[in-house]
């Protein structure tokens, strides 16, 4: 690529920003279009988006992009002029073209324009430019799918207005070669990376509020200067100064807290940004699996810190795929079980105190605890005795272990036993917790509990020996004072007997190689932390208190110190280390 000068660079960046935004919306619109194919406004909007992309690409000389966009635009044009009726096949082709456009744009963004294979996608679209209305199946040359004697359900059945129904294409498709050329899934991977993570949109009102607070801060600073001057000039006595200073401290604390909250808020993005790509994914996966799904999304306006948004997408996709693959039954199975043929999948997000809770709930077949237990014993992860003493919740948690899968056949989507483990790792990275609820025959629910923000945390200040450490409060389940005498040993692991379970213990002093201070105390404190699905108890000497701190990274050379998540600077200027509960739990394994 020829070197770009700064004017061109600006043009390019503008093009990328605008195009990516359009593409983002396009996905959502296209899936919506499928259920409302006569929505002229929607169709026009989609057409205009592609048209804009084509124009901009042409202006900047991105020929491949122009070709693909142009053909797609033509098909859309026919659709909106009612020369063509939307069918799932047309939608597939258009979606594939959109994915290709995304891929090409991401190439441009990466500065690495490749000669992508566009011919296939374009040729899938071409037939729709020439044929006249009605069912495309009449012409075998356009659709590789042979017209075997299978009743084709009408592409769009009447939809209930309050749900997104994904219609079923064909009931039993094993015999038919599904010739879907470069399957959208392959391109999907790249397309999903197309978020613009380097900029953020901020509500102007938020900026105004911020400005107000900064104004307040300036006023307080002026008062501080005045106060200092008064003191040094002897215009105020000690008592007066103390009084004024005390008030000033309170006001500055307040203003600073407000500022902090507001800036943090600017980092928050509605979870909708992640959720919006799911209708498309659900549609694709459901079609592949020949299942009917009724997807409902709630609470998408719930806001999350953007660092969490970045990380949460993959685990959610995996959980959704699992729900569709393992959880939901085929329409026939469901009818046999007395359920509606379309399975329900509810994705919701909400705030709970200092956490955000994301739930994926399906009304499928639920998790078979017996099978899970047996599989675990088979794989040597448990003994029969251990299994016998496990509660249902503990058995459910087994599916989060690496290598675990009760699926007999490994499908392309899931069943390799890799996925749930990855989900768990990702959630742990975010200092979150996974909870699984399930009932045989009724369905399952996966709950993800994540802290609201990663940048500033409430922490529990503890003392170990002479050193001070901070434990993120979001991970702390409870604390109590115990006598070390009451610890037991089970197989070399120190544990504490709790009400209805046994808590593995970690002596922070040992793990962090801290010198013993004086003689051993008669009592100590145990901080029970939860990380993903585990619970462990951290043994410390003293609980000092609670503090809200801003997390500072330890820098690239120290990011991987086991057990340490980061650092912060205390009020007295000292650096204090923040414990990583998930890491400590892992180390204990």
């Amino acid at each position: 690529m020829p070197p770009i000068d700064s004017a061109d660079q600006e043009l390019l960046e503008g093009f990328l920003a605008e195009t990516m935004e359009l593409l983002d919306k396009l996905d959502e619109d296209l899936v919506a279009l499928e259920k409302a194919s006569d929505d002229a406004e929607l169709l026009n909007r989609i057409f205009r988006s592609i048209h804009t992309i084509k124009g901009a690409s042409s202006f900047l000389g991105f020929d491949l992009l122009v070709k693909v966009a142009h053909t797609t635009e033509d098909v859309l044009n026919r659709l909106r002029k009612l020369e063509l009726t939307l069918t799932p096949e047309i939608m597939d082709a258009v979606l594939e073209a959109t994915d290709l456009v995304k891929l090409l744009v991401s190439d441009i963004k990466a500065g690495d324009i490749q000669e992508r294979e566009t011919g296939d996608t374009i040729s899938r679209l071409l037939p729709f430019l020439t044929e006249t209305d009605s069912t495309p199946r009449k012409e075998p040359s356009t659709q590789p799918q042979q017209s075997a004697p299978i009743p084709v359900t009408a592409p769009l059945s009447p939809q209930p207005p309050d749900a997104m129904m994904v219609a079923l294409a064909q009931p039993s498709s094993e015999g038919i070669p599904r010739s879907v050329t470069p399957h959208p899934k392959v391109l999907e991977g790249r397309g999903e990376e197309l978020y613009d993570n380097t900029t953020v949109r901020v509500d102007v009102t938020r900026l105004d509020d911020l400005l107000d607070q900064v104004g307040e801060l300036v006023l307080e600073r002026n008062r501080m200067i005045q106060l200092n001057q008064d003191l040094s000039q002897g215009d105020i006595n000690q008592a007066g100064f103390q009084d004024e200073f005390g008030k000033l401290t309170k006001r500055i604390s307040f203003v600073t807290s407000e500022l902090q909250m507001q800036v943090l808020k600017m980092r928050m993005i509605p979870v909708e940004k992640v959720f919006r790509k799911f209708p498309r994914i659900v549609r694709n996966v459901a079609r592949d699996l020949a299942k009917e799904v009724d997807l409902r999304i709630m609470g998408e306006e719930t806001e999350l810190d953007r660092s969490i948004i970045d990380e949460i997408g993959d685990p959610l996709i995996h959980l959704i795929r699992n729900a569709l693959d393992h959880g939901l039954e085929t329409p026939q199975e469901r009818l046999d079980a007395g359920k509606q043929p379309a399975g329900s999948l509810i994705l919701s997000a909400g705030h709970e105190g200092n956490h955000i809770v994301i739930s994926i709930k399906d009304d499928g077949r639920g998790i078979d605890c017996d099978r899970v237990g047996r599989k675990a014993v088979e794989k040597g992860l448990l003994t029969d005795d251990q299994l016998a003493s496990m509660s249902q919740n503990e058995i459910l948690d087994l599916i989060l272990l690496p290598g675990f899968s009760t699926k007999e056949k490994v499908s392309d989507l899931s069943g390799r036993g890799v996925g749930m483990d990855v989900v768990k790792t990702n959630i742990k990275k975010l200092n979150g917790i996974i909870e699984i609820r399930s009932e045989r025959g009724q369905g399952s629910e996966f709950l993800l509990r994540l802290p609201l923000t990663l940048a500033i945390i409430q922490s529990l200040v503890v003392e170990v020996g002479r050193e001070v450490y901070l434990v993120p409060l979001t991970s702390v389940l409870e604390t109590f004072r115990v006598e070390p005498r009451s610890f037991h040993q089970i197989g070399g692991q120190e544990v504490l007997k709790m009400r209805d379970s046994v808590l593995p213990l970690i002596r922070m002093q040992r793990v962090f190689s801290i010198e013993q201070e004086g003689k051993a105390e008669e009592f100590c404190y145990v901080v029970v932390v939860g990380a993903a699905d585990k619970r462990i108890g951290l043994v410390v000497n003293r609980l000092i208190g609670q503090q809200e701190v801003a997390i500072k990274s330890l820098g690239p050379y120290l990011t991987d110190v086991p057990g340490i998540a980061g650092s912060t600077i205390l009020g007295d200027g000292r650096v204090a280390l923040i414990v990583d509960p998930a890491g400590m739990a892992a180390r204990n394994d």
Binding site: K552, L554, D560, P562
Partner: protein
């Protein structure tokens, strides 16, 4: 940017001058490129970081930034001593990050021409990693060992992080 020049053969003559900061460790004198030194500070409270190599003393608060601090004595296998009034931390730029190095004392900034930099003899006192030694400067009254501390990092630090 001053790349420690490849030690040149005699016969070539460079008349480039470079500025170096000299410091002492266990009676020996060392020096580094002044352009890499951000600042030189007294030793503040160092917070120990568990599960790190012994020569990583810990981290400090540098005006709101948390940076790691390495004891060069420990790193080079020299005997460890108590800090005294002359002990300093040299805050240096390591790639894009800052890192502090504890030294016994910082002497001065000297100007040498590149011809004065000679290749180092095979082994020196202590256990100095050979990669760090960029050369020696033989002046009439003293011998200075020129260090390139970034080399030390490439070799060692990444290893720490992975194999723990």
């Amino acid at each position: 940017m001053f790349n420690v020049p490849a030690v040149h053969k005699s016969g070539e003559s460079h008349h480039e001058q470079v500025k170096l900061v000299s410091f002492t460790l266990d009676q020996e004198e060392f020096c580094v490129d002044v352009l890499k030194v951000r600042e030189i500070i007294h030793v503040p409270l160092v917070t120990r970081v568990p599960n790190t190599p012994p020569h990583l003393e810990g981290v400090i608060n540098l005006r709101g930034k948390v940076i790691p601090v390495i004891s060069l004595r420990k790193k080079f296998g020299l005997q460890n001593v108590e800090k005294d009034k002359q002990t300093r931390i040299m805050v240096m730029e390591m790639g894009s990050e800052l890192m502090g190095f504890i030294v016994d004392a910082v002497s001065e900034v000297i100007r040498v021409s590149t011809d004065e930099i000679q290749p180092s003899p095979a082994k020196m006192s202590g256990d100095i990693d050979q990669e760090c030694i960029a050369g020696v400067i033989n002046q009439s009254d003293r011998l200075l060992v020129l260090l390139n501390l970034e080399m030390m990092l490439d070799h060692d630090e990444r290893k720490i992080l992975i194999g723990m």
